[in-house]
Amino acid sequence: MITYPFNYKRATSVAHAETLLKGSPDAKLLAGGQTLIAAMKMRLASPSDLIDISRLTELSYIRASSDAVVIGAATTHFEVANSADIVKRIPALAHLASIIGDPAVRHKGTLGGSVANNDPAADYPAAVLGLDATIKTNRRSIAADEFFIGMFSTALSDEEIITEVAFPIPKKASYKKFPNPASRYAMAGVFIAQTNSGVRVAVTGAGPCVFRVPAMEAALAKSFSAGALEGITIDSGGLNSDIHGSAEYRAHLVGVMARRAVAAAL
């Protein structure tokens, strides 16, 4: 399949990428391209320009400290999954990265790209929201709770570029997903974390945008056990319904994945 024509531009720095973005209102940033290029091939997206930021070494790093893991936006899923620092400090995050797509996709796809795209069934938004991470851009810092607005929609403005995401280290966390067997996207994925500010439960794949489940958070704050979630149901109203599963099925899956995540939390 062939995309609509576009102009390819390789940015030499974040500042250069920002200048290029300002010069072409219909441009898009190209990171790993594992979603964007597929969308362009289906002719669902037709940017005038692609500004390639995937080779910017200034955006590719993993910095771990005693209270947080900070990951550059152009860091690939493969690098996150295999980082000894992340495996040690936030194993749930390394695990999440290790089950995105397939090995070839993980070699190209990036954290920043996934978060900026905010696909309703992407994995990373669940970790960002579940761990109460902070998204840093070339302009400002945005809390996870303020970042994900709706389907494929975020708080980012047109000329904003994600530079890094800071994940606070939780006491315990776990991610369980029920993948679509063909695409490996989440039919329902639940990230549960015991953080310094309380228990957080973030759900991806089930609705139009990643969301938290306050009832589960409250129950787990009282007793962090799978049993504490018994009897808590998810309203299927507004959840995704497609050939892969109905909204009711996804609502049920959220409960199952949540209980599995609590049971497996490390």
Partner: protein, 158 residues
């Protein structure tokens, strides 16, 4: 159209390509390296897997211009001096293919996985093959081929 230059199978190559030319078309149509196949063309099947700077990627999901200056290895680049790569030999010996359409991608994926994980068990191989689809074999002999190749490459006897 711009000229795109990269190193493919150890050889410096340059060819004209539109910015929107996918790497797989560049390899097949500009360079006439037709061993890399286009299966689904939607990043699911893995028939188009090649190595770019040492990592397995789907060449249908990357533009040629993104590989400017990169080192690319295709299925044509595996055999050396007329001798098949151990993974190719293992696929032949274990009947790891039937129609053969998915085989180039399977082998490029296998070479990459063995390099990353020399001690492969069958479960890991199946997990690592999640991005490669075969409609003939049922995967059993593909898994056996990769298991055998990993053993050969680690120097162990079969």
């Amino acid at each position: 159209m711009a000229v795109v230059s990269m190193t493919v199978n150890g050889k410096a190559v340059s060819a004209e390509a539109e910015d929107r030319t996918l790497l797989v078309y560049f390899l097949r149509e500009q360079l006439r390296l037709t061993g890399t196949h286009i299966g689904c063309d939607t990043s699911q099947c893995g028939a188009c897997v090649v190595h770019v700077d040492g990592k397995a990627v789907k060449s249908c999901s990357m533009f040629a211009v993104q590989a400017e200056g990169a080192h690319v290895t295709t299925i044509e680049g595996l055999a050396k001096d007329g001798k098949l790569h151990p993974v190719q030999e293992a696929f032949r010996d274990n009947h790891g293919l039937q129609c053969g359409f998915c085989t180039p991608g399977m082998i490029m994926t296998a070479v990459d996985m063995i390099r990353r994980k020399p001690n492969l068990d069958r479960e890991t191989i199946r997990h690592e093959l999640e991005g490669n689809i075969c409609r003939c074999t049922g995967y059993h002999n593909i898994v056996s081929s990769i298991e055998d190749a990993a053993k050969r490459m680690s120097g162990a006897t079969r």
